[in-house]
Amino acid sequence: MIAERQTRVLNNVQAINEALDLALAQDPRVVVFGEDVGTMGGVFRASDGLQQKYGERRVFDTPLAESGIVGFGIGLAMAGLRPVAEIQFAGFLYPALDQILSHLGRMRHRTRGRFTIPMVIRAPYGGGVKTPEQHADSPEAILTHVPGVKVVIPSSPERTKGLLLAAIEDPDPVFFLEAIKLYRGVKGEVPEGYYTLPLGRARVVREGSAASLFCYGGMVEVCLKAAEVAAREGVELEVVDLETLIPLDTQTLLASVQKTGRAVVVYEAMRTGGFGAEIAARIAEEALDYLQAPIVRVAGWDAPYPPFSAVENHYRPDAKRVLEAVRKVLTH
């Protein structure tokens, strides 16, 4: 169905803006709020023009308080609305961790389904764009360790639009992390009109047989670049975009390992305790017999993400480091 639609070339921010616009138009319960999202349209312009179009009751600025934003959203959701909150940068989610850990993911469970939180929390994450401290953090491992939430990290405009609309329709709380590097850094054909893409599916974005690269968000671009370089040397790498970390599409992941026998996991958060460790563990638990080499992780170093440009390129995994890991799994 989506295939038959007209498409236009959009970047990720435009895709998000379009999704929010369609959600507000389609469902009167949807409200969009956060710091500077109203008049200004968000620091990345994701909600540009929406307050003018839908008014201050549907699209509103909040006081500068992340725990307040998430807690307020939980209340709006419990009372029957469909809140879509923006946290200005994922590195500023930390003041709201109490609300997130204590209630967001537990409300359905602790009230036996009497009160539920169909809320979306959008936040820009990840590096590669020369930002100050805390603006490039990738806190997905913290969020995936919260029971009762979903975590989605799209990597292309078409996927971003459909997944965001699906997240807003979803009956459970969804973290929607948007790679800052990709906001304007990727463009793609995006179908017109309202459509959703299912959460919980990984997708093979490049087929190959030599080894599997598992990645998401901002690292998909990096892995595709590495795969291209490898292909010139005759090495065909498979690139799997996990897209939804919770719930995780283990099937697609394992199928890829069964096919290639080699796995490299790429993520830009600090290596230790990162979500890549979860991927590696699932592979080890369920597909060890297929492995022809140990699983290798390529990740940020065990240090805070460095601010500004001078050294951040040494922190964030790039195609070169991915290829080094590929060499390791191929020559084991």
Binding site: G71, G75, P83, T111, L248
Partner: protein, 344 residues
């Protein structure tokens, strides 16, 4: 700042009472019902038939007076662990409360016609949420209000401030009721904050802050009623500080003799909210000892049948652990569910 008061320490009206005789009787009955629940719950706890239980003895009027102003199927209540009295008065069935304090999942959800969220254990987290619930009423075009309770210690948490700020900026129909019971476990109010009156904090948010005698049901009820009416009219939130005292220990596992004196407790026992209300009724010729005895019998019968009902609830099943995590069970929960049912 003045403290709103209608009854003196012995229950004698100090001025005209803005409640009908019928209302006074309803109020006294609600106080007695709450006290009865509290006493019997502690007994159940001692018998090992409840988990840890946070009693509220001494704070009945502060909770009941507010809950009496709310409609369970219209308004909202977001209580902390100490508010069984508010929950009961708001409309939570006793059997559900018992199950809830048994930590039985069957007690975790309020019935569909009772907008009460399960007791909050982390301190103050419900305040921003209550602001959201309240704001949603306005967005949905309803005149419903939300009421939220915390203790004096809870006002030190960041969420108290963020929640009040949100509520005031959005003019949300919210009642924030602080039961200033003198203690946060073992820490006295003077070590919690430098202000004399918690109600003063309302000034920081540009909303009304009222201190009320929390052991005077007439005072709490009338102050709360006014705040609810203001909220329904779209005039925004109110912070109510109810001055009261936790005569009971912090929880069933606490030993208050380590931090406070018996004299202090004795002093407050003399200002018991039930005694004051009863004296008020006697003074007005609305009550008799015979009626009192009858009421006790009635409340005991009600409680016993609720315990029986709670006891009839089926044992929670191990696999309920992974139910209600998501609306649709996801693969990881499904795998755990199968395992716990012995089907894996």
């Amino acid at each position: 700042m003045d403290t709103v008061q209608y009854l003196d320490d012995h229950g004698k009206p100090l001025r005209d009472i803005p409640l009908s005789n019928e209302a006074l009787l309803i109020g006294y009955r609600a106080l007695r019902r709450a006290r009865h629940f509290d006493e019997r719950a502690l007994v159940l706890q001692r018998q090992g038939r409840l988990g840890v239980y946070p009693p509220f003895r001494g704070q009945e009027a502060a909770q009941v007076g507010v809950a009496l102003c709310l409609k369970a199927d219209h308004d909202w209540l977001l209580p902390s662990y100490r508010e069984s009295a508010a929950a009961l008065t708001f409309g939570m069935p006793i059997s559900k409360l018992i199950l809830s304090w048994r930590a039985d999942p069957a007690g975790w959800g309020a019935p569909p016609n009772v907008n009460m969220v399960q007791f909050y254990i982390p301190i103050a987290t419900q305040i921003p949420q209550a602001a959201g619930v309240a704001h949603a009423q306005r967005l949905l075009g309803k005149d419903a209000v939300a009421a939220v309770f915390i203790g004096d210690g809870g006002t030190s948490e960041g969420d108290f401030h963020e929640g009040l700020n949100f509520a005031s900026v959005f003019n949300a129909p919210l009642l924030v009721v602080v039961q200033n019971n003198g203690w946060a476990i073992s820490v006295p109010t003077q070590k919690q904050m430098k202000v004399q009156r918690i109600a003063q904090k309302a000034q920081g948010y540009g909303i009304p802050g009222i201190t009320v005698d929390g052991n005077d049901l007439v005072a709490v009820w009338s102050v709360a009623r006014e705040a609810v009416e203001r909220a329904r009219r779209g005039e925004g939130p109110t912070l109510i500080e109810a001055l009261t005292y936790r005569v009971a220990p912090h929880t069933s596992s606490d030993d208050p003799s380590r931090y406070r004196t018996e004299e202090e407790t004795e002093r407050w026992l003399k200002r018991d909210p039930l005694l004051r209300m009863k004296n008020c009724l006697l003074h007005l010729g609305l009550w008799s000892e015979a009626q009192e005895a009858l009421l006790t019998e009635e409340l005991e019968a009600e409680f016993l049948s609720a315990v029986e009902e709670a006891d009839r609830a089926p044992e929670p099943k191990p696999w309920e652990i992974v139910e209600q995590v998501y609306q649709e069970m996801q693969p990881d929960q499904q795998a755990a569910w199968n395992y716990l049912r012995g089907e894996a």
